[in-house]
Symmetry: C2
Subunit: 405 residues, 2 copies
């Protein structure tokens, strides 16, 4: 039966939304996304799960428990970025399916209900928001948002929902208060496990994230006629700031990270001293006080450099997400399962965002990572060693057993 | 008579090609440029100069000498950058006109012929080249180039010439071998004279200029999941290089200058570690050995940083212009005139390029600068104190007298 073979399932999903230029693209509510949704629903049914879709299109497969207690849930998403790989999201869906199927056939009915939840639009695959499915589950999505957010063609979430017979007026019905635990399996999307030659990461927290937009203002001058001493060069100032940002993260030590990914310069001519520079900062730390420290260190360095170089500076904080700690109960369940199975592992933060951080608002949430070869993700090159994938699913199965039986 | 008042002449020229958004734009061969050309021709005639245009549209006003010796020429350009100011180019034209007019009325016929040469397309105001007029005079322009270079609408120099009844087949006829001296008056376009409170700069050399395009290659990684220690961030590497370029020019000391004016980054997303960065370098020094030293220092620092950070680097030299020394005979003539008139002055290099550097290939060339308020140029804010302008023209007149009478 195909539903016993993780690789066959992943390969089957990877054919849905395949792009001619490489990789896959399953934007939420699109035809490829619906095909994947139907495919997973079919597999769920084959595995003996009771299948339903909720009001926003989250897909839910359920095994009832012997008592009417809170649900033990697992899952991830099947929407993808454009040019995405075989594992991001899909692994948590397929891994959860195999885990529930295995538990049901080996141990029969659980004490608590078990669910596989396939969320929609985790990535921001199509619309100008992300976590749409999990936000609906925790009761933080509504019709107003569905009318606000749109895709590149101007189609709103609400319009796209109606096109596939989902009623935006019913969004609130997706909200759940009966979920007790949510454990998401995912690829690491980094190279920490690979470098340490470990097969499993147990996520302690989803990192805190702060985005800044920085404007540095100097004075445009002729590149030939203006001595170095009398310049107010916005770009040399920004360069010093970029190095200071790198240094701030290094000085605080791992897992602090800080990245400048965008930069633009005015007037942008080879023979004119730059008058202004705009750049982004992405700063992350899974510990709240350290997150604040990192941002404070960066800010004070930037002001110091601007002052030293007589430049204007404007630091705008665009977003600030505090870290989301994972539930100790889930961390212990995963750890115990890994130890029992002899799977090499370590605790680690997640540097990327996941549905689990949204689910954590209403239930105990946790995550487990399998290694990413070369740390690659959001690319067709995204991969994990087959054996590590299988061991990860065994640990997921063991952890769910501990929680639900 | 208007032609005695430098300010009235400059104001009159500044109305031709005036932009609604501020500043002036007189691209070569355009209607505003032709209007300015006709206006200056009219003034020349009023001042008793014999007027002609050459095969490419350089405008020449002449006073014959009593002997048939080499020509003593002055002049500059009337084409402008978009949004240009009142003085760049125009001052050398108007100043030369007043100087020749004054010499003729006060001293009568010179021994050697005197010419005011108004060059066309010094700035690269319209086409993908610059110095078109002066290159024609020194015999280094031809029909092939006229067919090659084009404006933003794809119109070639040759097509634009034909539109105003200039024959590209006749370009070679603009070449001259009878010019002995060329002395160009210009605004400094920097703030050195202003800072030293001097009224005049006597140019010793036009600076050597090297342009590089640098590509730094790292590896794109997830900004959240990739620890600082295992990144190959092309932008932090480029930032270190930009500071090293600044340091190289400062360490060599004035008048060395080095500028990074353009930078672009791939993939340019806030949450992705940059995989590659492209930036420009503009490095200048008026002494040839120091120019080479500056470029060597920059190159070795860039390779060192790339190596230190395990980044790829490709340094492409786009252009290299060695410095052009000005003729000692002209430097002395200007200096003597300035001293006689009691005008405060210093010798200095020109950090910008000028027609004089092209003319220097065939004759003795020199330049004199008047101060630029705030060092501004290529902007409507471009200005010089009226008294300094007038003193500059007096020195130009005195220097031309020394050469031609």
């Amino acid at each position: 039966m195909i539903t016993q073979n993780v690789h066959a399932l992943l390969d089957a999903l990877y054919t849905l939304g395949k792009l001619s230029e490489g990789g896959v693209y399953r934007p939420v509510y699109s035809e490829p996304w619906q095909m994947a949704h139907r495919q997973v629903a079919e597999w769920m049914a084959q595995c003996g799960l009771r299948v339903r879709a909720d009001a926003v299109g989250n897909l839910i497969g359920r095994i009832d428990g012997s008592v009417d207690g809170p649900v033990v849930a697992t899952g991830s998403h099947i929407d993808t970025v454009r040019g995405g790989g075989r594992l991001d999201g899909a692994l948590g869906v397929v891994g959860g399916l195999i885990a529930l199927s295995t538990l049901r056939s080996q141990h029969g009915q659980p004490r608590l209900p078990l669910e596989l939840i396939v969320t929609c639009e985790e990535e921001g695959s199509r619309f100008t928001n992300n976590f749409w499915g999990s936000l609906s589950i925790v009761g933080e999505a509504d019709e107003k948002q569905a009318n606000q957010h749109h895709d590149v063609d101007g189609v709103t979430i609400a319009q796209a929902m109606r096109q596939i017979q989902l009623d935006p007026a019913r969004i609130a019905q997706a909200a759940r208060s009966d979920i007790g635990w949510f454990l998401e399996m995912h690829i690491e999307q980094g190279a920490v496990l690979e470098q340490k030659q470990l097969d499993l990461g147990i996520v302690t927290a989803i990192t805190g994230l702060t985005h800044f937009r920085v404007t540095v203002t100097g004075r445009a001058d002729h590149a030939g006629t203006t001595p170095m001493q009398i310049r107010n060069d916005a770009l040399t100032g920004a360069a010093a700031m970029i190095l200071a940002i790198e240094h701030a993260a290094r000085a605080l030590g791992a897992p602090a990270v800080a990245t400048v990914g965008r930069i633009s310069v005015e007037p942008g001519q080879a023979n004119v001293v730059p008058s202004s520079v705009l750049f982004s900062i992405d700063a992350r730390h899974p510990d709240r006080s350290q997150q604040l420290q990192l941002c404070a260190d960066i800010r004070s360095e930037l002001y110091r450099i601007a002052d030293e170089r007589a430049l204007g500076i404007h630091i705008e904080q665009l977003t600030e997400h505090p870290p989301v700690p994972m539930a100790p109960e889930i961390i212990h369940a995963v750890q115990a399962a890994a130890e029992e199975l002899g799977v090499s592992h370590q605790q680690m933060p997640s540097g990327a965002g996941h549905d689990a951080q949204i689910m954590a608002r209403r239930c105990k949430a946790g995550m487990l990572f399998v290694p990413s070869i070369g740390g690659r993700s959001h690319t067709p090159a995204e991969d994990t060693a087959p054996a590590a994938l299988e061991r990860g699913i065994q640990v997921l199965t063991g952890a769910l057993y501990r929680l639900a039986y």
